[in-house]
Subunit: 209 residues, 2 copies
């Protein structure tokens, strides 16, 4: 399979290198395919990789967009005809300061609850996995993570303890505004459980190395 | 610690039971504390648990809301003064058909890209973890999951293969609209990496049992 990489930065570079080493033909593209960066990237990735123009990369069997969000619209539009093409979108509409997403998220239930519960120290937690995992967080020697977020450090410590007490690995996800990530994460869990057929006996864990 | 449970359904029931068995005093509340359901729940949970009114539960050291979203505003407002209280919000503003969130999410980069890339078979993928994980998905015998979503089954099969090829455990997250969960998941990863100090060498995995 030929894979065209549009946006040959960290993400495009890592994926293209991994794919070329797995035996795929990879085209790293750049507005200037003669530039040192993209030439070196292709060289390092090995004999199955080469550098070329965006237009050429866009003709591959599969096209990956791994551009910074502000450049994505232009990159997609300048890629030419993509009709019936497999396009992988690896972009994220991140705000520059990483405080949120540029588009798509506007608020969260957690923030709404904090508004209703005047003066309370609201912590968003125990919302990202199903009740069977809450009843028992242990998975054959492993344990489910429990993400929590909130604006009051002491309240968060309390919740962290309550999560530990019943077997979870608690993970501080940041301020309450992060409920905007934890609620979609819940929706992902529910969709996997019910619509994708994974059932109720699974949980998230963080791998580390 | 005394924990008041408001919304004694599956989630509230599981958490309250686990906490009472971990040694905390738990108050399961109900609009009718004499009802068979909540009495049985408290009985099953053991000697540290009891059933009481919502007002009594709301006086506990920590108050957990685990109500269905449409009942949450009323539950919070009827809980009385919550000033300076640790409130755990375990609710999720789910649409009744689980097709999305009632509030907070409106669109996604993935859907936007699909609009720009007319006719393309867009798959959202390789956006939820950092480039170091993309370069090497293996974690001491374990491997990172790779969530992907899209509306074209064949394109998704292609992406699934490409994820496997470089060591990921691919997980189908559903239609392209699920980019509304995968992009916040990316933001969570980035926030944990950069703001919460976890660094770049971690990934998501699904535990199963």
């Amino acid at each position: 399979m030929t894979i065209g990489i549009i946006g040959s930065g960290n993400v495009g570079g890592a994926l293209g290198t991994a794919w070329s080493q797995a035996g795929h033909d990879v085209i790293f593209s750049s507005r200037n395919p003669q530039s040192k960066e993209v030439q070196e990237l292709a060289l390092k990735a090995g004999p199955k990789a080469r550098a070329a123009s965006v237009a050429e990369a866009a003709e591959a069997d599969v096209v990956l967009f791994a551009t910074p969000w502000p450049l994505t619209e232009k990159a997609v539009r300048s890629a030419g005809k993509l009709q019936d093409k497999v396009v992988i979108d690896a972009t994220n509409p991140l705000r520059e300061d990483l405080s949120g997403l540029e588009i798509g998220t506007t608020t969260s239930g957690g923030e709404q609850v904090a508004e209703w519960a005047k003066g309370a120290k609201v912590v968003k937690a125990f919302n990202t996995i199903g009740y069977k995992v809450m009843a028992d967080a242990r998975f054959q020697g492993d344990r489910s993570v429990l993400f929590y977020c909130g604006d009051d450090p002491q309240a968060k410590e309390t919740v962290r303890g309550l999560a530990s007490d019943i077997g979870f690995e608690p993970i501080d996800a940041g301020p309450l505004v992060q409920a905007r990530t934890l609620e979609p994460l819940a929706l992902l869990w529910i969709s996997l459980a019910i619509k994708q057929g994974l059932g109720f006996e699974f949980a998230y864990k963080l791998l580390r190395r």
